[in-house]
């Protein structure tokens, strides 16, 4: 019964010999990876046409774990790199999986512009409220008063409300779930993978070893309990009102609209110009 007789159903989506991953016990990144491959499995995507791009940080390692073409960029540049990838070969399904610091601090500019252009990239942000890999520094999503190694007296910076930011920047699909809502997370990733244009999914992710430790949630379970206690599903409510506080985490889908993607517009234009050019040739 309990002995391993079969292969894990998702192992074909993971690179041989890379699992177990480097992430800590209870780390939400593992759940995000699980949700992602789960979605890929349900959609039976062609792995040869799937490109996973990540930035720097714990979750940045995810690109190394998925059995696809993958690229682990410099800090914050995942989206800029991915834009090049997607434009150069629109056939590819390009997914950027990165952290809150990578995407919204150092990479913030690239994020808002990729969203503004409606670049056909699917972004999954594992938001763990701090910089985990460097030992737990305060970041753009660290909640007010949270303790981190660089906000030892409690954070006084107002955090980003990522779903609001994404919606305001022009994403065509915006959702937020916690890693406890892993099934919803999976469904949202599925939805994003089937949509055209810039999609953003925020996965509120447990960082027990670092963020949790500093903020009296010593285990993944305690953090998941917080998610359970504080989460309210408020799909398609005003993302502006979806700030995250200790007692309230508004989760759900916030935006789901249709808008022509950048690469579609660009390549349509290119082919038009080419028709003209050909005429002039002939």
């Amino acid at each position: 019964m309990t002995q391993q007789t079969l292969e894990h159903p998702y192992s074909k989506y993971l690179r041989q010999g890379m699992i177990p991953h480097i992430w800590c016990p209870g780390c939400g990144n593992g759940v995000v990876l699980n949700a992602f491959v789960h979605a890929v499995d349900e959609l039976q995507l062609d792995l040869d046409k799937l490109v996973v791009v990540s930035g720097i940080g714990c979750i940045g390692r995810i690109a190394g774990y998925t059995n696809t073409d993958s690229f682990h960029t410099t800090h914050g540049r995942a989206l800029a790199f991915a834009s090049g990838v997607k434009l150069a070969n629109p056939e590819l399904e390009v997914v950027v999986v990165s952290g809150d610091g990578d995407l919204f601090a150092i990479g913030g500019n690239h994020f808002i512009h990729a969203a503004r252009r409606n670049m056909g990239i699917k972004v999954i942000c594992a938001n763990n409220f701090n910089y985990g890999m460097t030992g737990g520094q305060q970041g753009p999503t660290t909640p007010l008063d949270s303790v981190t190694t660089t906000s030892p007296y409690g954070n006084i910076e107002h955090p980003f409300n990522l779903v609001h930011l994404a919606a305001a920047s022009g994403a065509v699909y915006v959702a937020r779930w916690t890693t406890l809502h892993v099934r919803r997370l999976t469904q949202s990733i599925k939805k994003a993978l089937q949509k055209k244009g810039f999609c953003f999914i925020e996965a509120i992710s447990a960082c027990p070893e670092i963020y949790g430790r500093y903020n009296n949630m010593r285990s993944g379970l305690e953090i998941m309990e917080w998610f359970k206690r504080a989460s309210v599903v408020e799909s398609f409510s005003d993302p502006a009102k979806a700030e995250i506080t200790p007692d309230r985490i508004a989760v759900g889908e916030f935006v789901d609209v249709e808008k022509l993607s950048y690469e579609k517009l660009l390549h349509e234009k290119i082919s038009k110009i080419n028709e003209k050019a050909m005429e002039q040739v002939g």
Partner: protein
């Protein structure tokens, strides 16, 4: 209200000019009352400008005379001394109106039912009493004020509570008439009890086959908005203008559901299905039954793994092609504006597990008649095979036990549940149809086959060989091995004990008021009878109306009924509601309270006693305001107010006190001041008159709408002016025409008794009598009893009472 205030103002200026008309009523009055003398006497009374006697005042000439005098003699008040106002007040009021006199400036003295007819053989005292009655009437008349009846617009939408066959019928009738209907059903589907029954008696047609079409009509009807899985949470307002808050519990499945059923194939949760009384299973996501309306599936969140939007299992969500699953759905409250309400909340079935001697719940093969319905139903858990639970075998010997939970106050309810006898007869025939050689015993108290076609069915059952044995078994024992049952009891026809062995016993369980009836009662301020069923306004003449205006009953909510009666009553209720809505407005008699805000201290006592919640308290403004359309006009608020800040129009404190003063002006020590309520005790006194019951002539009746109007100060005034005795009479407790106002009466009289005792007065000088309109004899007897008391009262006692209550002498 404001409008009315103006009228008062205008009427204050002019002096009262009262015309008095003493009617002979042929010899009905003149036979034992000297009408001429009474008229002469009347002429001497203050403000009387005209007094005459005539043979038939109600005749056309009589009325014409009054009209003429109003015009020519400038009468601004009219008193007719004749029969009971319950008979002719409307006639004379109309006459006054025709002559341009506000109908509220008319008053009547009842010298027939309350005088001539009950004192046939004592012309002298009869005449004296008649004079008193006229004096009382004139005294009140002088203080009468004109009033306008207010008109309340009626919202042409109806709320039907309960989606059983009664609610369905009421909703369809109203909707077909063209009114918008909101049908609120607590359960996920409409259909109620009838949906679960296999066949209906006496015609034996398939229950769901005839119900299903009606159900889908409800679902599709453009005028019906169906709110299933919803509960009425709050009802405010009054006849014509109710606001109902309805809580829509989430189904967790949206309207996009195509009822394809793919979800139930994958749902891992299995639980007993309520619809089949637990004899079949369902899943956490389910539809109550095949014909359910709405067809939309529902998730039972108590069972589903996905609480508070955290999805643990998404099998159904994945299986649903229409993406209709919404685990995080939240309850919502909708507010409905309606003019009328039909209460069709149905009944519960009796739970026989409280009767240990029948072993229900203990012995596998003892089932209820409802469980039987599911078993014998082709769509049921056994696909129509009557299987006994213990071994899934078709039983050879079956018994029905009647009156389980009915007709016994110790084993359930005292009343007869109406449907069980015929249901059993029908069921026994069903068994015979499928398995003719099954032995069937029916143990009964009486077989009640009273309805159309019922007796034939009963005979058919007997011919089919069903054995009817009179006398319920005292006990059922189970054979542990075979799980067969032994029934022990006495056959009361043959006076012999029996001991019968059967494979299966079916307890014919009775109907009882729903556990949640109190909720509806509270929300709609309804009253219920001792059995817990809702009480109609009048058992004969208003059988589907609630005492509260604009609310009607349909089906078992009002009492146990079979399908036919439920449907009949539903249509009746729909018609009654339709009448109101067709009119589009309702007029309210101008007897609602007047408030004097300067005196009001906003103590809120009145709001507490109002049976209709028609008084709202505004603490900041330090005053109360009355919703006239909601007010029933009992006047108990006026009686409750310690500051005289409230009084009831047309029954003002001044007017009633004037009547008291008139009675007690002379020979008070020989008289009884009686307060009678319009609906029961006054009518009872009339009935005594009509049936010529003779009683002592010293009783003087003052009419109020409800005994709840009788303020302690009226009684105290009577004693303060030397009355020998006082009688306060009203409807029986629980039958009050103003829901429960007469409980206040009782409270107040008991207070007075206490006060009398404390001050060393005999409390028997104040009598409290509950007499219905039919209890003339009871009234007469009380009057006779009072005579004894009056005679026993000494002048010292009279004096003492004067002292004790002298405060009551000054008009506030």
């Amino acid at each position: 209200m404001t409008e009315k205030k103006e009228l008062e103002a205008s009427s204050v200026e002019e002096e009262p000019r009262i015309g008095v008309y003493v009617c002979h009523c042929g010899l009905n009055i003149a036979g034992s009352v000297d009408c001429e003398a009474v008229a002469k006497f009347a002429a001497t009374l203050p403000h009387v400008v005209l007094a005459q006697d005539n043979r038939y005042t109600c005749s056309d000439q009589g009325q014409e005379g009054i009209k003429k005098d109003i015009k020519e003699r400038k009468l601004n008040r009219v008193v007719v001394a004749s029969c009971s106002p319950r008979l002719h007040e409307p006639t004379f009021r109309k006459a006054c109106e025709d002559a341009g006199l506000n109908k509220y400036l008319f008053e009547m003295a009842n010298i027939r039912e309350h005088c001539s007819w009950v004192h046939l053989y004592d012309r002298a005292s009869g005449t004296e009493k008649a004079k008193d009655l006229v004096k009382m009437a004139v005294a009140k008349a002088a203080l009468l004020e004109p009033a306008e009846e207010i008109e309340v617009p009626i919202n042409r939408k109806a709320l039907v509570i309960g989606g059983g066959v009664a609610g369905i019928q009421a909703a369809l009738d109203l909707a077909d008439t063209g009114y918008k209907v909101y049908l609120v059903e607590k359960e996920p589907s409409i259909g109620g009890m009838m949906a679960r029954i296999d066949k209906t008696f006496p015609t034996m047609d398939c229950s769901i086959c005839i119900l299903a079409p009606k159900m889908s009509d409800v679902g599709h009807h453009p005028n019906i908005e169906l709110l299933a899985n919803s509960e009425v949470a709050e009802v405010k307002g009054h006849i014509g203008n109710f606001t109902a808050k309805v809580l829509r519990k989430p189904r967790y499945v949206t309207k996009d559901c195509s009822a394809c059923g793919e979800c139930i194939k994958v749902c891992p949760i299995v639980a007993p299905n309520e619809f089949d009384v637990g004899l079949a299973t369902r899943h956490a996501i389910y539809t109550p039954f095949a014909q359910a309306v709405p067809a939309t599936y529902i998730i039972d969140m108590n069972l589903c793994l996905n609480k508070e939007g955290v999805v643990v299992c998404d099998k159904c969500m994945k299986a649903c092609e229409r993406n209709a699953i919404k685990y995080e759905a939240k309850p919502e409250t909708v507010e409905l504006e309606v003019g009328t309400i039909v209460v069709a909340t149905g009944a519960d079935v009796f739970d026989p597990s409280v009767l240990p001697n029948y072993g229900y719940g203990k012995f596998m093969n003892v089932i209820t008649s409802l469980e039987f319905e599911r078993l014998i139903n082709a769509g049921g858990p056994s696909h129509g095979h009557l299987l006994r639970p213990s071994d899934m075998q078709i039983p050879k010997r079956v018994t029905f036990i009647q009156c389980v939970g009915s007709r016994s106050d110790k084993n359930g309810k005292l009343y007869c549940s109406n449907v069980c006898c015929m249901n059993t007869i029908k069921d026994s025939l069903l068994i015979k149809e499928h398995w003719p050689d099954t032995e069937i015993y029916v143990f009964y108290v009486d077989i009640r086959a009273y309805g159309k076609g019922f007796e034939d069915l009963y005979q058919r059952a007997r011919k089919a060989g069903v054995k009817f044995i009179r006398g319920l078994p005292a006990e059922i024992k189970e054979d542990k091995r075979t799980r067969n049952l032994w029934l022990f009891g006495e056959n009361t026809l043959q006076n012999e004990l029996y001991k019968v062995n059967v494979d299966m016993a079916i307890l014919s369980v009775g109907l009882e008021a729903r556990k949640d009836s109190e909720v509806i009662q509270r929300l709609l301020t309804l009253s219920r009878n001792q059995d817990g069923f809702f009480l109609e306004a009048h058992p004969k003449l208003r059988p589907v109306d609630a005492a509260t205006g604009g609310i009607f009953f349909a089906g078992c909510a009002e009492g146990p009924k079979d399908i036919k009666d439920s449907v009949t009553q539903a249509s009746a209720a729909a018609a009654r509601a339709g009448i109101l809505m067709a009119k589009g407005k309702v007029t309210v008699e101008a007897i609602t309270p007047i408030t004097f805000s300067d005196k009001c201290t906003a103590c809120g006592l009145c709001t507490k006693v109002c049976p209709y919640n028609a008084i709202t308290l505004n603490k900041d403004l330090k005053r109360v305001s009355i919703i006239e359309a909601a007010c029933g006009g009992c006047g108990t608020c006026a009686a409750e107010c310690p500051f005289g800040a409230l009084t009831q129009s047309h029954f003002t404190d001044k007017q009633i006190l004037a009547q008291v003063d008139a009675v007690t002006e002379c020979d008070a020590d020989k008289k009884v001041v009686a307060f009678c309520c319009n609906w029961c005790s006054y009518a009872g006194a009339d009935f005594a008159g009509v049936s010529r019951m003779q009683y002592p002539p010293n009783v003087r009746i003052i009419r109020t709408m409800c005994s709840g109007r009788v303020s302690p100060k009226f009684v105290e005034r009577a004693f303060a002016r030397g009355a020998a005795a006082v009688m306060v009479t009203g409807c029986h407790l629980g039958d009050c025409h103003y829901i429960n106002a007469n409980y206040q009466t009782q409270k107040r009289v008991e207070k007075l008794w206490k006060k009398m005792e404390q001050n060393g007065l005999r409390k028997d000088r104040l009598q409290l009598l509950w007499a219905s309109a039919a209890e003339g004899e009871k009234f007469a007897n009380k009057a006779r009893e009072m005579k004894g008391i009056v005679e026993s009262v000494t002048s010292e006692e009279i004096e003492k009472a004067r002292k004790v209550f002298e405060k009551a002498l000054k008009n506030d």
